[in-house]
């Protein structure tokens, strides 16, 4: 734990140096890069050690404020998140420095870097805090640092609105967390997680209240539908490397919270599992559907975070049901799937956001309808974005498939079991539908942005981003590929987390690890065999052709346009709206899409139905009610004195009533 503390300290030092010497750009940038990389690696070491089975001693500070000692420690659950934090946090920090290299306002850039370092440090503290008070303090510092990084360009009204929506949502969530820990810690000896675990809520009613409040509090941060309304706005407002950290890490704290609550509860109730399953399915389905309807790249990716949170919840739900119905294997696989998907999502989602940032940086716009043909102009960004897309859709060779496979595996394990756990298997259909929609969405994104002809001069003049920007993306993409192709690296730690949450005996985990490890390697071998077979045929065929007199292929031809005399213009291509229209038509009531159809153009505009239909009207209602009450209170002095007299009379009546009673 000391190393993590050292890492965090280094990051704060990085923040201070960049804030102090912001005038000397070169020095502060290199110092910042050095400290951040050093801090992240130092912090990552204990995480890796814990994940590989070793134990790291806790750090216990005497209680200086009410609420018992401050304990910090790393268990397997925090280790997974810690590793993701340091990996993605470091990459985003380096990307941020390169991104702001030629930013004219040096003061603001330095401020942004310092805040980013504080945000990563706060994230590390949140996952290592093992007591309520430090957890809540780190939680709010993370929320506030997140807010300040989001509004790095405050002059734009859209940024201010997005930031405010984020801040209000997280603060309300934090208040719900206050209630959770106040209720849970009511009878406990002190407010450390250990004593909370030793003293679970007594009655089922209190447990239900605590769980619903925890779901609300952590759900707002994680972006579970319908509490996700702030997420797209905040991501659209923030600079891309901040959205990467937001989506990759900050919303994962919501998931970490739910997992920590499950870890603290000896036996999470069965209904909680079904609720998680239902929320996961709705969040997943609605998240990807709304993503399909978006044209703003960052909003689209933000909605996809909601979808992936849905998938993680499906895993968690399967885990809780496994524990509830007494299926340790199902529980372990479910939790392992959830933990692994959280880690994977942190990797490929931040990769996609950095890619979006690179595209935005080069073209200056986020609206994908105006892009196209960037693969030729920005080959490295295109390749990396493609890797991210394949991973997020969960297609075989990469890590996204691995974690989705674990979740599927736990759901099917339920089906094979006996008793009412068999109904769990139906959730697999929801996951399949989500997968199908995700495929549609990312086919659209990749095709509309990178393939075909550029639809706008902006896209035509785009240049590849500097190496400082593409290098962190390459690192993340590499991580995705490695974890995808070498599951033996990632599966054992994930299963170790799963068994910790499912409280299954370690003996089971080892058998499970071998059970899970074996087949996946078989899968990779099968894939390799397929490639080898196809390559063999192709080579043999190419050799025969080479001997024959077939001319080489021609590449100067225009795309075939049914022999139309004029060559195809960019307008002939399918746009994002037209590509997604048939799918959205199937789910019209839920998508919040408004179609604008004129004689010569077709465009859809999508708005988040929860935000416009539920949250904003609710707030307007409260404000109007307050306004009406305020109008009763005009400024006249006699009215104010009348209030004083009214109080005196009420107190006198109370005196007589109570006086008589005692």
């Amino acid at each position: 734990m000391m190393l993590v503390a050292a890492g965090i300290l280094l990051m704060l030092v990085a923040a201070l140096t960049v804030a102090a010497l912001w005038r000397r750009v070169a020095l502060s940038d290199t110092a910042f890069r050095l400290f951040m990389v050093l801090g992240c690696t130092l912090g990552a070491i204990p995480a890796v050690r814990v994940l590989s089975g070793a134990a790291v001693p806790d750090v216990r500070l005497a209680s200086l404020v009410p609420g018992g000692d401050w304990v910090f420690g790393i268990d397997t659950l925090s280790a997974v998140f810690l590793l993701a934090i340091f990996l993605v946090g470091g990459a985003c920090a380096l990307y941020g420095v390169a991104y702001a290299e030629h930013d004219h306002d040096r003061r603001r850039a330095a401020g942004a870097h310092a805040l980013l370092a504080v945000l990563v440090a706060a994230l590390a503290l949140v996952v290592t805090a093992q007591a309520v008070v430090p957890f809540l303090i780190a939680w709010e510092v993370m929320a506030v640092a997140g807010y300040l990084t989001i509004i790095s360009e405050p002059e734009r009204a859209e940024v201010r609105r997005g930031g405010l929506l984020y801040l209000v949502a997280t603060h309300t969530g934090t208040l719900a967390l206050f209630a959770v820990f106040a209720i849970w810690g009511n009878g406990a000896r002190d407010l450390t997680f250990a004593s909370l675990a030793a003293h679970p809520p007594a009655s089922a009613g209190v447990l239900a209240l605590v769980l619903w409040l925890a779901l609300a509090g952590f759900g707002v941060k994680a972006g579970i539908v319908p509490l996700h309304f702030w997420l797209p706005e905040a991501h659209a407002a923030a600079p891309s490397h901040i959205s990467a950290i937001m989506s990759g890490l900050v919303i994962k704290m919501g998931i970490y919270g739910v997992m920590r609550i499950i870890a603290l509860l000896v036996a999470p109730p069965v209904w909680f599992g079904w609720v998680l399953l239902a929320l996961g399915a709705t969040s997943g389905f609605l998240g990807v559907l709304w993503a399909l309807a978006q044209h703003d790249l960052k909003r689209l990716l933000a909605f996809h975070s909601v979808e992936n949170i849905g998938i993680i919840l499906l895993g968690l739900g399967a885990g809780v049901l496994g524990v509830g119905y007494g299926h340790p294997v199902m529980a372990t696989l479910g939790f392992a799937g959830a933990a692994l998907h959280t880690f994977n999502h942190a990797l490929f989602k931040s990769l996609l956001f950095l890619g979006a940032g690179s595209v935005g940086h080069a073209t200056g716009t986020r609206d994908i309808e105006r892009l196209g043909g960037l693969a030729k102009r920005m080959p490295r960004t295109a390749a990396v974005f493609l890797i991210g897309s394949v991973a997020i859709v969960g297609l075989p060779p990469l890590n996204g498939f691995l974690s989705e496979w674990l979740v599927y595996r736990s759901l099917f394990q339920g089906g094979v079991g006996t008793g009412s756990a068999r109904f769990v298997v139906v959730a697999a259909v929801a996951l399949a539908l989500i997968g199908g929609l995700a495929l549609a969405c990312f086919a659209k994104v990749v095709a509309v942005i990178f393939l075909g002809n550029p639809r706008d001069p902006l896209a035509r003049e785009a240049r590849e981003s500097a190496s400082g920007i593409t290098r962190p993306m390459a690192v993340l993409a590499g991580a995705c590929v490695v974890t995808g192709l070498a599951p033996v690296l990632v599966l054992p730690p994930a299963l170790r987390v799963g068994s910790m949450l499912a409280r299954s005996a370690s003996r089971d985990t080892m058998s499970l690890v071998s059970a899970a490890n074996g087949p996946v390697t078989v899968f990779v071998l099968a894939l390799a065999a397929g490639i080898a077979l196809a390559a063999g045929i192709a080579l043999a065929w190419a050799a025969r052709r080479a001997r024959s007199s077939v001319q080489p292929s021609r590449t100067s031809v225009e795309t075939w346009a049914c022999a139309y005399p004029v060559p195809l213009t960019a307008r002939a291509q399918y746009t994002a709206s037209s590509f997604a229209a048939p799918v959205l038509a199937l789910f019209r009531p839920v998508t919040g899409v408004s179609v604008r159809r004129t004689a010569h153009s077709f465009a859809t505009h999508a708005v988040d139905p929860v935000r416009t239909g539920l949250v904003l009207p609710a707030w307007r209602g409260v404000a109007q009610a307050a306004d009406r009450i305020r109008r009763l209170h005009r400024g006249r002095i006699s009215l104010h004195l009348a209030y004083v007299i009214a109080v005196v009379i009420v107190l006198l009546v109370y005196l007589i009533a109570a006086g008589g009673a005692s």
Partner: protein
């Protein structure tokens, strides 16, 4: 002997400052203000190291609760004095004499309230604060401050009159019992044999009287006008120190009633006032457009929290006493920063002050951090006290009160965030250039901000001990 000095020194200073009429004595007046503030702070600090014996025939004494309020007042006054140096240099007020005299008189009055063990003496001190603050509110001599001071005088005097009636009721209640009349130690010793009917009446009227001075809803109507129109440092002092002294009055009578075992009678009233204040603050904060009026309603909210904590008992009492300290420091910090804003742009309306982070970077940052502090976000002290009060609400078996408290806090956060963030972050009005912020105007708020941040993370041992004994005195217990 030191207790007398703590009260008399500022009084003499006030007379001395009042005597130095004319502009050429301006520097002398200001140096007396800062000098006396410093000496007062040192004297109070010595009280912490080795407590002073009771003085003036037992009428003045030092107990945990009084000491906390006294040190809060002294710290706030010193910060405000530093601020006043910068303020008076920039404002060049006509009545500099009245201004400094009033401030020092205010310090004397509040010190008297904090140290008095005799309830009537406490009443006289509190009444004295009313007429020392009145000329300060009327500082700008324009139509709006005239209306503010008239409303303040009328409502406060009516409140104080009710408190006087309460004190007479208490005296009658004690007529049967042994011990010197109206002296807190004796009252507490013989609490059981006070006449119950009169004690109840005394509690209610004292609560109504001091509640008006505190600004509990619905007796709060003078607060937004007064804090809105008075100079910011005066509003800061009133919101931080004056309300704490008024709360001290309520705390004294609660001590007596708790000792007399009347908790079932007392607690519902306190809870009622607390929730009503939170509700009124929430309703009036939404859509607020003036930052000082916003802070006034925030003060109503925090007074509601104080009384709520007191009414909940258990660790709620500890939360309340800690909250007095936190709220005082945070309120003064925010009012001083609002003062900077008003000094730079001449108006406290949100519309006129957009883009503060660009024009007044340090004040803008302090304002945004202040928003998080005053709404009880964790790293700051107010989170500790509000969280303790919440835990007390759950512990005392009032889940609905805890729920209502959280809902109101959420709505208040939204209202305040809407205003303050729009001010701090909006695109600056074109003519506003980056003003140079003088060090005098920033020293106070920065010091107070670090104090509030410290209290959020670390409570020093002597303070912890004082808080615990104050909580037990109020019928609660330390967490």
């Amino acid at each position: 002997m030191r207790l007398l000095a703590i009260c008399l020194l500022p009084a003499l200073g006030a007379v001395f400052a009042f005597a130095l009429s004319g502009r050429r004595f301006g520097a002398a007046r200001v140096s007396t203000l800062v000098g006396i503030a410093a000496v007062h702070l040192v004297l109070v600090a010595t009280l912490w190291l080795h407590p002073a014996p009771a003085a003036f025939g037992g009428w003045m004494g030092q107990d945990a609760l009084g000491l906390i309020v006294l040190s809060l007042t002294s710290v706030l006054f010193f910060a405000t004095a530093l601020y006043a140096v910068g303020y008076l240099r920039r404002e060049r007020p006509r009545g500099g004499r009245v201004f400094v005299g009033g401030l020092l008189g205010f310090l004397a009055a509040t010190s008297l309230v904090a140290l008095s063990q005799h309830l009537a003496l406490l009443w006289v001190g509190l009444e004295a604060t009313t007429f020392t603050v009145a000329p300060l509110i009327f500082h700008r001599h324009d139509r709006r401050s005239l209306e503010a001071v008239w409303k303040y005088l009328l409502i406060s005097s009516v409140g104080i009159a009710l408190a006087l009636l309460g004190i007479f009721f208490l005296a009658t209640a004690q007529s049967g019992a042994a011990g010197r009349p109206l002296l807190l130690p004796d009252l507490l010793a013989h609490a059981r044999d006070l006449h119950p009917a009169w004690l109840r009446a005394a509690f209610l009227f004292l609560l109504a009287g001091f509640g008006t001075k505190m600004g509990l809803a619905p007796l709060h109507t003078w607060k937004p006008d007064t804090y809105g129109e008075a100079p910011s440092l005066v509003s800061g002092l009133m919101a931080g120190a004056l309300t704490s002294c008024a709360f001290l009055g309520v705390a004294r009578i609660t001590q007596v009633t708790m000792a007399a075992g009347m908790a079932p009678f007392v607690q519902p009233v306190l809870l009622g006032f607390g929730l009503l204040s939170l509700a009124v603050a929430a309703i009036f904060i939404i859509g607020q457009s003036d930052v000082k009026r916003l802070l006034a309603y925030s003060s109503v909210e925090h007074m509601g929290l104080l009384v709520l904590g007191l009414g909940l008992g258990g660790i709620g009492a500890y939360g309340t006493v800690l909250h007095v300290l936190n709220n005082g420091l945070a309120k003064a910090w925010l009012f001083l920063v609002a003062g900077n804003v008003v000094l730079a742009t001449g108006s406290s309306a949100a519309a006129a002050n957009r883009g503060l982070m660009r024009t007044l970077p340090v004040s803008g940052a302090l304002l945004v951090l202040g928003l998080f502090a005053i709404t009880g976000s964790p790293p700051f002290g107010l989170f500790q006290s509000e969280f303790t009060i919440l835990r007390a609400a759950v512990g005392a078996g009032h889940p609905w009160i805890a729920a209502a408290m959280l809902v109101f806090l959420a709505v208040i956060f939204v209202g305040m965030a809407l205003l303050i963030l729009e001010m701090a972050l909006g695109d600056p009005t074109p003519r506003a250039t980056r003003a140079r912020e003088s060090w005098w105007l920033l020293a106070g708020p920065v010091a107070l901000a670090t104090a509030v941040l410290m209290l959020g993370v670390y409570i020093p041992a002597p303070l912890q001990h004082a808080l615990a004994s104050a909580a037990t005195a109020l019928g609660g217990l330390a967490p």
